[in-house]
Every structure is written in C-alpha cells, then in structure tokens.
Symmetry: C2
Subunit: 324 residues, 2 copies
Amino acid sequence: MSDRRPIVVLLTADGVEPPADLDAMARIAEIRTATDGTLADALPGADVLLVWDIFSDALSRAWHAADALRWVHVAAAGVDAILFDGLRSSSVRVTNARGVFDEPIAEYVLACILAHDKLLHETEEFRREERWVHRETRRVAGRRALVVGTGGIGRATARLLRRVGLQVRGAGRRPREDDPDFGVVVDSADLAAHLTDVDHLVMVAPLTETTRGMLGAGQLATLPDGAHVVNVGRGALVDQSALTAEIAAGRLSAHLDVLDTEPLPADDPLWTLPGAHISPHMSGDVIGWRGTLSDQFLGMLTDYAAGRDPGPAVDKQRGYVPGR
Amino acid sequence: MSDRRPIVVLLTADGVEPPADLDAMARIAEIRTATDGTLADALPGADVLLVWDIFSDALSRAWHAADALRWVHVAAAGVDAILFDGLRSSSVRVTNARGVFDEPIAEYVLACILAHDKLLHETEEFRREERWVHRETRRVAGRRALVVGTGGIGRATARLLRRVGLQVRGAGRRPREDDPDFGVVVDSADLAAHLTDVDHLVMVAPLTETTRGMLGAGQLATLPDGAHVVNVGRGALVDQSALTAEIAAGRLSAHLDVLDTEPLPADDPLWTLPGAHISPHMSGDVIGWRGTLSDQFLGMLTDYAAGRDPGPAVDKQRGYVPGR
C-alpha cells in the first residue's frame, strides 16, 4: 500500500440515495461518483470500486478502463450481477455485504412460512369479500423445512426456524450430518432425492452456473402436494414457468421475493394466481439497511487504506464467499 | 363416587362434529346428547355436562333441571360464555380445555406480528394492484411486546416471542419481576401506565368482570403511533369502537381474531378499514383440534369415573384456572 490516498469509484444510479458515510469515506479516499454511463471515464487510476447500485453490470463494459483496480465491493449479498470472465480471471478482489442480510431475511422467511401455515393471505381474501369462514390452520412446530443454501443467510434462517420448532435440514455442496446449524445437510446436486418430505422449501443459494435452474420441473414434481416454496435467493435458481404451472394447478404455493425479471412484467400470471405471493426484492431490506451497508464499507475501506485485509473475498469461480 | 356409571350430557349444536371418542366415552358413561333446546330435558339425574358447543349459554336457562350435576367441562380455553351466578355459587366443578390451545395460539400471534413487521398484507395489496413497490420492513428482534394475560396461552406466547428475539413483558393481576416466562409482569389494573413503549400489544386475558373493556379509549390513546394490537382473547376485552376509531385514523393497526359480535356484522367498518385484519375466531384451531379436545375430555372422564380428580378447576369467582 502506497502513502497516497486510495481512489474509490462509487457506482450508483439516479434516484439511489448515496451512502450515509460518504463524507467519512472522503476523508480516507478520493471519491469519484459514477453511473453506468460514466463508469469507464471514472475508472482509470481507481483502486476500488464500490458497487452501490447493486443491479448494475456496467463493470463488464467498462472493464478496459480498470487499469489500477484492486478491489470491488458489492453492497449486496449476491454478487452474480457483477461477475464476468474478465473479472473472474483477474487478481481483483471481490467482497460482498456479508452478514448484513442474514437475520433480516431469516425473519422474512419465517413470516412467509407462518403466513402460509396460518392461512393469513386466505383469511384476508375472505375478509375482502366480507365472508366469515372458519378454517383449521396448521401447527408450524414439527413442519419440515429444507433450506437450500448454507451460507450466512441460510444458516440464520435454519437457526430461527429451529427455534420456532420446525424440523430443518440444509442442502449444500458438501453433504454432512453434523452441521451446527442444520444438523443434516443433503447434497444440493441431487435435490430431487430430498424433496419428497418437504413442507417448506427455502431457496437462498447464491446464483452460480451450478445453481442456475437447480429447482426445475423435475425437482418441483417431487415436492409433495401442498408444499410451499419460499425464494429469497435469486429468481433464476428456479424454473419460473414450471413453478407457475404447479401453482396454477393448485399443487404448490409460493412466496417469491425474487423473480427472473424484476420488476415482474405486467402480463405475468404470477401477479394474479392464487397461491403466488410475490414481493419486490425486499426481504432483507429493513429500516436502516442502507446505513448498515454504508457503515460496513466504511469499516472495510478504513482497513484497506491502512493496509489491512478488508474482509473475506468472494471465490470468483464459485460465485460466493466459501464457508470455513 | 358410586358404582353406577356416570351420566354425561353432551351439549352440542346442529352441524357441530361430535367428539371422535364418543364410543369410548359411552363405555365409561351413559351419554345423553342435547342441544340448547333440549338441555333441560337431558339434565335431570346427569352428573356431568360436556359443553361441546362452546358458544352455548343454555345452561343458565336449564339450570333448574341440573338436580345431580357435579362437573361441567367446557371444551374451550375461555369459560366466560358458560358462567352465571347460579353456577358460580354452586358446588359444581367447572373445568376447561387447559393447554390445548397454548402453542397453536402462540404461533398464530407470532404469525400476526411478523405479517405486521414484514408488511405482508400491504405487499399483497400492491400485488393485487399489480404494482412493484419496494419498501423497507422492520427487524422483529428487539421489538417490544406486552402480553396481557399470564395463563397458559399468554405464557406460551411469551416464550415463543422471546425465542424469536422480541422483548416481552406480561401484564397480570400480580405484578412481579422474576417470572420465568415473562421476566417482568406489570399490573393489568394499571394498563395505561405500561403502554407508552409497546410495539405489539397481545390481548389474551380471560374475559371476566375485571377484564371486560380493560383496553378502552384511554388505554388505546397511550399506545405509541404505529402500535399493533393482536386480540386472540375475547372481543369484549377491548372497546371495539374506540379501537376502530384509532385504526380509521391510521394511528394503530390490529389483528382481531375475536370480536364483540361474532360473526362480525355485515356493516361493520372493521371489514374494510386498512389496518384492520379480522379473522373468524380460529387462532387456536389447528388441524386435529377437535380430536385433541375429545381425547382430553375422555382422559378426564376416565379419571372422574374412577374417582380421581379430573383436573384443575376454574375459580368460578375469578373466571379462570388460577396459576400456581
């Protein structure tokens, strides 16, 4: 690390609130603000890229201008939008907003599971029709959940669901039977073999070439009648048209916080199908989340500027930060 | 206890499924089935009344015919509908469906709290309008809940909410600071003094002359803006018109599983007010609940017929089974 202050490019977009700690960052580094269209102009000489507009993939197009880049931080849990071959094969370090979303998303998943088992959405539909229709609900204790994805969010989800009494297993790359959070982790490469006794299937894996489409028509068909899918990972983990068909048939229902195309297009049947509960990619975004993301980067930048390690790096081949 | 088999009157109603264990009960006792209109004819000589139609108050009108009655079992948690002065001053023992609803209702309360903090109902409204509107939700960990009622259901609720990370206090007749489930229990006779810092107010007290209207306009006014009321106890615990006014003003919101009049009348504003989420008295009714109630009474009847204590009695002056 040289004595000069690092140069940080803040990649943002119109209408996105800037980091709350921008002034503090500017005391440590020279800050250049860019958007998709100006990124190539801002990158020459820059050491660090802060991807604050987390849906941007502009770096792949401005990559030729990244002549001094050493570190890219993505202010999100998933880094799928930013990765491309040039970045993967470079020595540029990639970090993510590790930990920030773990507990908020775990709570959101629990909310979806309870809403399903206690029939809250159906009760609201009856209320809208001004109909008083008593029905029996389910105990949530004892229900069987499979959490696909064993990173920080999956682990926080497993711990919370277990505290409420659900039976929880995980699905990941490395099967095992003694995981501290999941107990049993089944092989996510052989998902269909582990879905026949699942009541609540929680998708929270990172999107990589391995996980893309991992919940396809064949896997969905092995879920029991009445099973409930919660997707808080990425839309492309799931074959959305196959899931739509299962929901339309009344066999499955789902809470989908992420979708193939966001916002969901106007003519998509998921807007109106009974049993489909879509939400606009907000499961982890609790009040103050942008401040937390800003604080996290400020801390990492402080470490970087002092020559210390800014935090765990994404394995760019795998597409996520590997566990211990 | 004499050698003759006890006579049990089953008080039911048209359309109510009979107890699953009726045949087993008939091996222990003579069973007479009655409805509101025939109760007076069935009671003479009967030892036991099983109130299976839990909304019935027919016993007060047929009381003159209860010439041998020793025990009334109500297949519900709350016994308010059955109690009247003649029964209170008699030596007839009253029991309730103690424990059956504790965990199911605790789960339902948690579902309501999470639906509120994660904006699930609002998200469904946007979905119905096919609008993609990102919003920030709340962390539920750290939120402040006050559970009014320290019986079995209140205790199960407190334990579950604490496991999910809420800060929980109780409100009951006997204030204390070392309760195993609540930690602090504040004085329910002075409720208004303890509502200023409550995010989620859970009403689960039994309905008695002391608790009727305990959450009145004055108490409601002390709740902070944005507070959320969950009523799974009895409608009459709350001044329903005062609560309706607070919801109409947008200051409070509520999940109400119980109401002054059930079913809720057709013209009631609670059907349509944003922020009012009514449900048809179903919070504890999980799949199999009637079987559990039947099994519970069969076990108690078996004890009774053998001369053993059938289980903890309701304090008929107070209107509930007192804690230890």
